[in-house]
Structures are given as structure tokens and as C-alpha cells.
């Protein structure tokens, strides 16, 4: 298979003598600091932790859109991250000479997506690169066509990987990338669960997660809400059997037609999102149109069935990657039908997603964010 063609936004690098200043570069496609995906937040947190540990500067390169300094500053504040060195921002990038970036030996480059890693490998020494794998990467293997060459990339044994969550690592291993088990450490981006997600009131109640990505589109939110109420009315969702978790920025307080009050997560922070997703066994997600980065694997990977309602054909990659993802149109009846299929899939032991069983101790259990940063920077 020929290598993927080089994109217009693939960054160009040139080499300079090193050793005078340390630097961590985070290479991503978008760093939408006002509406970061889980993967973006994890990548940023890891890059900051690595840079601070190395007493290095941080360079953020978003290939496809500008990084708004004020939004980044606010995001860092929300995540409790402080950058100790310089923090340089670049983007968007064009493959022209004026947009070149210097690189020196020993610089740590974190690629926040398979596509970014593939781009960087054409220009940088493989030993300086770490590919961050996370569930929000729209270019994960399974996409048809695999334009980023992600399948081949994940098969490489000379490239360092860092996987965001042990659960997602299990998912990738289960998809056949078995070498990742021993050679790719995983980390948990939100070890401190600061926001409590209520535990089920009894063992039989399960968690249903309704998630709308920011900025909230009231119309989309209303359609989703309508579908959920309809599913409750029709008994597709048994009101007594489900804890309803609603997550969206600026979420209004909701009282459903049956009087039920869902547990709402306004400004869902990383730890709350992680915890909610860990609990959910069925989810309805309404991603932004064209927001392919909002992949549902972060929910599906643990053990859930995810209904993905969209007006566009996004997330083919996710559907292909996991049988736990059910796509449907952004219409009430289509969503209800998809939820029905999701509930049936949960009843069907054969097709039901299984919560990954923690492997026997191999000495490479999931690391904390700080420990992951320490491992990446240990030899630098």
C-alpha cells in the first residue's frame, strides 16, 4: 500500500543544533481551546506535564486552525495547568517555506493524532516522536479509506506510543494491535475524580449518558431531548431502570415529561466526563456537524453502546472501529429506533460490549499523567 499523500497542512521541519534550550512540541490538527475534545485535553495535559518536568518550553502547533491565546489560557486554568517555560502557539500551518519549524535533537514531539504522527515521521527522527493514541482521534484504523495511514502507523514497533486510558488500550489490543500491550504504556488523564457522578441507586439501574458537544446547539439538544422522552414514553428506556446523565456545556436544568430530573453536568470537566463515561452502558451523542474529532469511542471503548446521531456522514471510522457504535440520522424517530437497537444489543450477550477485564499484572499497568510524563522524559 503506498504511503498516504502529504497534506497541505502537514508541517515542515528543519534541523538546528540543540542542547541549549529544552522543548516539548505538541503537534495536533486542532486545539480548539473553547471546546476541547477529551483527546485534546489529555494531549495538552500530557504535554504541559512533560514540559514542566523537563523544565522545557512548550510549543503548540495546530495544523488546521489558529490557537486562540486567551482561550488556551482559560483552558489551562480550568484544567489546573501552569506552563513554567515559554508557551509558543502556531497555526494554522501551510506546507510552504514560511511556515517551517525548527527542530533539534532530543526535542520531544508529541503527535496528538495518527495523522499528525504520520506527517511528522516524514520530517523528524522517529526517536524524538511519541504518538498519543486516544479515542477522539478521527483517523484511527477502521476509517474507510485509511487516508492517514493509521493502520500501518499503529503497526510500527519503532515508534513510541502513549495511550490515553487503559480501557482504550485494551480496546486497541482487542482490535489486533497486540504489540501495544507490552510496548505502549497507557495513562489515565484524570486520576483525581473531582466531580462526583452518582453511583447507581441499586445494582439493577444502569447509566444512560446523553452528551451534546459544545457549543450547544439548542435545536440539536431539543431533538435529542425529544427522542429520549419518546423512548421513555414507548418503554424503549425504562424510567425505573436507568439513571439519566446529561452532559453539555451551559446545559439548562431539565425536567422530563415524566417528571424525572436527569443528573446534569454543566461544563463537563475532564474528570467528570471520564467518570460519566465509565459508568454509562448506553449513550446518545450528538456531535457537531463536521466535528469528526468528537468520536464516540471514548464512550464505546469502556463497555457501552453508543448511538451516534448526526446529519452528516461523520465517524465512519468510529463505526468501523467498534461494533458498539450505532449511527443514525439526527431525527427523533431514527434516534428512538437506534436506542431500541442499543438496548437490545445490551441484552444480547453475544454482541454486548464487554467491560475489558484488567489484564494480569504485566508491570505496565496504566500510569498516572505525571508518571507518563516522567516516562516520556526519562531519557532526555
Amino acid at each position: 500500500m503506498p504511503p498516504p499523500s502529504r497534506r497541505q497542512s502537514a508541517p515542515l521541519f528543519y534541523r538546528i543544533p540543540g542542547g541549549h534550550r529544552r522543548r516539548v512540541t505538541l503537534l495536533c490538527q486542532r486545539l480548539n481551546a473553547e471546546d476541547p475534545s477529551e483527546g485534546t485535553r489529555a494531549a495538552l495535559a500530557l504535554a504541559v506535564a512533560a514540559a514542566n518536568r523537563m523544565r522545557a518550553d512548550l510549543r503548540l502547533i495546530a495544523t488546521q486552525q489558529p490557537i486562540a491565546p486567551h482561550a488556551l489560557s482559560a483552558l489551562l486554568g480550568r484544567q489546573g495547568l501552569a506552563v513554567l517555560g515559554e508557551c509558543s502557539l502556531f497555526g494554522p500551518v501551510t506546507s510552504c517555506s514560511s511556515d517551517e519549524f525548527d527542530h533539534f535533537d532530543g526535542e520531544l514531539v508529541l503527535a496528538a493524532s495518527c495523522r499528525c504522527a504520520a506527517d511528522a515521521l516524514a520530517e523528524l527522527p522517529v526517536e524524538d516522536l511519541v504518538c498519543l493514541l486516544h479515542a477522539d482521534d478521527p483517523d484511527l484504523p477502521g476509517a474507510v479509506p485509511d487516508q492517514a495511514g493509521a493502520g500501518a502507523l499503529l503497526g510500527r514497533t519503532d515508534l513510541r506510543f502513549a495511550i490515553c486510558t487503559q480501557t482504550f488500550k485494551q480496546h486497541l489490543v482487542g482490535r489486533g494491535f497486540t504489540h501495544l500491550m507490552r510496548h505502549a504504556p497507557s495513562f489515565e488523564p484524570t486520576p483525581a475524580l473531582a466531580v462526583a457522578v452518582p453511583e447507581p441507586s441499586n445494582d439493577r439501574r444502569r447509566a444512560f449518558l446523553f452528551e451534546v458537544t459544545a457549543p450547544v446547539d439548542r435545536e440539536r439538544f431539543a431533538i435529542g431531548l425529544q427522542a429520549i422522552e419518546r423512548a421513555l414514553d414507548l418503554g424503549v428506556l425504562d424510567a425505573q431502570g436507568w439513571d439519566l446523565l446529561f452532559a453539555a456545556p451551559d446545559l439548562p436544568q431539565v425536567i422530563l415529561g415524566n417528571g424525572q430530573r436527569p443528573t446534569s453536568f454543566d461544563h463537563l470537566d475532564a474528570s467528570a466526563a471520564w467518570q460519566a463515561r465509565q459508568r454509562a452502558v448506553l449513550a446518545l451523542r450528538l456531535p457537531l456537524p463536521n466535528a469528526a474529532q468528537q468520536a464516540p469511542l471514548g464512550v464505546a471503548a469502556p463497555h457501552a453502546v453508543v448511538v451516534l446521531a448526526s446529519t452528516t456522514g461523520v465517524n465512519d471510522a468510529a463505526s468501523a472501529m467498534s461494533p458498539a457504535v450505532i449511527r443514525c440520522a439526527l431525527e427523533c424517530e431514527a434516534m428512538v429506533e437506534a436506542l431500541r437497537r442499543g438496548v437490545e444489543r445490551l441484552r444480547d450477550d453475544a454482541s454486548r460490549p464487554q467491560r475489558p477485564v484488567p489484564p494480569e499484572s504485566t508491570g505496565n499497568e496504566s500510569l498516572s499523567l505525571e508518571d507518563m510524563a516522567g516516562q516520556l522524559t526519562a531519557v532526555r
Binding site: P17, R21, D57, P69, G85, E86, C87, L89, E100
Partner: protein
């Protein structure tokens, strides 16, 4: 904006005197140094030759004498050789007349030193330098010019006995790349610059830092090579100007405001490149002196001129965390350090706290006078010349 308290000053380059007069400056000293620079200018020549000579010549008695010469003076080459004990070649590329001048000093066992204020002595950094300056990489003449310039600098350096430079970080790089003994004689404010600064500071201080107009940010560029540095702070300026309808911006020198500032054109004062005496008046008038730099080894080698020249007139600087900015700015004490993402907050913090502004300005002023005034530089200069 602080009120202009000192009228515009008449200005003429103080170094324009006939060759014979400058040779005569060497006649009276027991230890005599000739500084060489290709052409006089207000940047490198002023800091590295004129200012140094001023300090040496100001010492009582006749221990030291110093003068400066240019390419056009080399018709009197032998007289320069005869009159000086040490030659300091300031940031000059190799050429036949300069080579001959250096050779004549060397043959008489008179030390020849190379003085350089930028990382322009190693062609391995040419690519970085061209990128940092935002030059047209698709123009092959750019590559010829810069590789040629750096190679010529290096050729001059290689013929010298040692190197003098502006700061410890650059000194370490030069020693690392060349193996030459390298010492630091920092940049500083000369007598004239400090005198006008003293007047401006006194007036500002005596007025209790009273302002007469809405606040002003200032970006002061002495060369056309700082567009990319300036670009790092422009998003923050645009947001601040959008939120604060009274905020103005003064741009001095060769800087072009970007499209983000288009809505605020009426609040932007643009000034042409200005002589270094009257520039102090302008610096004194703004509340915040902006000192953005891209982060790399080339910019880390820059000395903190802009900081201490603003400090001398009681203006607070907000600066990128380049090596030499961090070395002299204690964040929140005598200025502010801003990272790429938090310029907006740092600038606003300065604007919104008049009490801490005054404290920072006073602290910076004291630092400028104690560490960066011409009166304090003799030991470093003597050590650089091997006269300690």
C-alpha cells in the same frame, strides 16, 4: 499616557568627527584600544564601540584611551596600528582591508578581539536566523547573503585572539562553537541616554506618575527584523483594544500592524524610526513597553536593552521569557514576564494596578541605574580587554 515633560531634543550623531580627531583620542592614554566597525550606526556600533570608548575615556587621569574607526578610515590603517595597543573588531565580516589591519596588529603582538552581539557566527544557525527574521526563504539571494555574512563573521572571529560579547548565554554559545576564550562586556546606557532618561524619570516621578491621557502600549523596534516577534503579542493587543475603548498603541520603527488591529487604526500612533535620545521621550510616555520575542537560541542571545532603556524612564516592561529577559526581570517586581498564551492577562495586570505599577517602575529604575548605566561598566570593559 504620561505627559511629555521634556521637550524634543536636538540630535546629531556624536561620533561623526574626522579620522585625525579620532586618532588623536588615542594619543594621551597609557593603554589604548581601537574599536573597529564597518559603518557607524545607532545600534551595534553605538552599544559596542561608542559606548565602550566613552566609558574608558571618561576615567580620570590618562590610564585609558579609546577610539573607533570605520572601513573608510582604513586609508590610515598604519596610524591606527601605531596608536593602539588592542584592536576590537565589532561584528565585521572578513574583507581584505580588515584582514590586513588585523594582521598588522597581530604581527606586533597586539591583541585582536572580536566583539559580537548576536548569534551570527555559525552557519548551522543560518536557517533558524532566516526563519526568525521572517525573510523570504524562496529567494536564493537571502541564503547567499546570510550564509555569506555569517561565514565572513566567522572568518574574522577565527583570526582573533578572543571574543567579547553581551551576555553569558551568548558567550557560552560562542565558546562552545569556536573554542575561543569569550568574555562578557554587557550593553548599557551611555552618558547622553542616561542624562535624558534622568530628566524624564524625575519629571514622571515628581508628578506622582500622573497620566494625562488614556493608557498606551508601546512597541519600539530599532530594526525591520522583529515583525515575527511582534506578531506573538498582537492577538493580545487586539483583544485588549477591543475590550478597552480607551487603550492606545504606539508603534515605533519598522513594524506593520496586522489585520487584527485594523478596527483600531485610529487608536494606533505610528512613529518612524527615531534617534536614540528622543526615543526615550516616547518610551517614557507609554504605560507598557512590550518586549515579545520568539523562543529560540537566536533570540535567547539578545541582550535586554529594551528593558533597561524603558526602566530608566520609569516605564514597566512586559517581556517574553527569553533567557536574558528572565535574568533581569523579576516577574511582578520590576516588570512582568508573559508567555505566549497569557500576554493579555499580564498586560492588563500592569494597566489595572497603579500602585504596583509605581512600585515596579521604581524597582526597575533602580535596577537600570545600578546595573545598566555607563558609570558601572568599567570593570567589565577592562576585563574584556585583558586590562584587569
Amino acid at each position: 499616557m504620561f505627559a511629555p515633560t521634556v521637550p524634543a531634543q536636538p540630535y546629531a550623531d556624536p561620533w561623526l568627527s574626522p579620522t585625525q580627531d579620532r586618532l588623536a583620542m588615542l594619543a594621551r592614554g597609557e593603554r589604548r584600544v581601537a574599536y573597529y566597525y564597518e559603518e557607524p550606526n545607532t545600534s551595534t556600533f553605538r552599544y559596542r564601540a561608542y559606548n565602550m570608548a566613552q566609558v574608558l575615556n571618561a576615567q580620570p587621569g590618562s590610564h585609558y584611551a579609546a577610539s573607533y574607526f570605520f572601513r573608510r578610515d582604513l586609508v590610515a590603517m598604519q596610524e591606527i596600528v601605531d596608536h593602539a595597543d588592542v584592536l576590537v573588531v565589532c561584528r565585521s565580516g572578513y574583507e581584505h582591508r580588515l584582514a590586513r589591519l588585523m594582521e598588522r596588529f597581530t604581527r606586533l603582538r597586539k591583541p585582536v578581539l572580536f566583539d559580537v552581539d548576536d548569534l551570527v557566527i555559525d552557519t548551522r544557525h543560518a536557517h533558524l536566523l532566516i526563519g526568525t527574521l521572517g525573510l523570504d526563504k524562496d529567494d536564493p539571494r537571502i541564503w547567499d547573503d546570510w550564509f555569506g555574512m555569517i561565514a565572513r563573521m566567522r572568518a574574522t572571529l577565527e583570526r582573533c585572539d578572543g571574543v567579547i560579547t553581551t551576555n553569558a548565554f551568548l558567550a557560552a554559545r560562542i565558546h562552545e562553537f569556536t573554542g575561543k576564550p569569550t568574555v562578557v562586556a554587557p550593553n548599557f546606557m551611555n552618558r547622553e541616554q542616561l542624562a535624558i532618561s534622568q530628566r524624564l524619570w524625575t519629571a514622571k516621578h515628581d508628578a506622582g506618575f500622573a497620566t494625562t491621557a488614556p493608557p498606551l502600549l508601546g512597541y519600539f523596534s530599532g530594526t525591520p527584523s522583529h515583525q515575527r516577534d511582534y506578531a506573538t503579542v498582537e492577538p493580545a493587543i487586539a483583544r485588549l483594544m477591543a475590550r478597552r475603548p480607551d487603550l492606545g498603541l504606539t508603534l515605533v520603527g519598522f513594524i506593520e500592524p496586522g489585520p487584527a488591529l485594523a478596527p483600531f487604526t485610529r487608536r494606533i500612533q505610528r512613529q518612524p524610526f527615531m534617534d536614540w535620545i528622543n526615543l526615550q521621550r516616547l518610551v517614557a510616555s507609554v504605560e507598557v513597553n512590550l518586549m515579545p520575542l520568539q523562543a529560540n537560541v537566536f533570540t535567547d542571545c539578545k541582550s535586554p536593552l529594551k528593558y533597561f532603556e524603558a526602566a530608566a524612564v520609569g516605564t514597566v516592561s512586559v517581556a517574553s521569557p527569553a533567557v536574558n529577559h528572565i535574568a533581569c526581570i523579576d516577574d511582578g517586581v520590576n516588570g512582568r514576564i508573559a508567555r505566549g498564551h497569557d500576554w493579555e492577562q499580564r498586560i492588563e495586570a500592569v494597566l489595572e494596578a497603579p500602585d504596583s505599577y509605581r512600585a515596579m517602575a521604581e524597582s526597575a529604575r533602580a535596577d537600570a541605574v545600578v546595573r545598566h548605566a555607563w558609570t558601572e561598566q568599567l570593570p567589565a570593559i577592562l576585563q574584556a580587554l585583558g586590562w584587569h
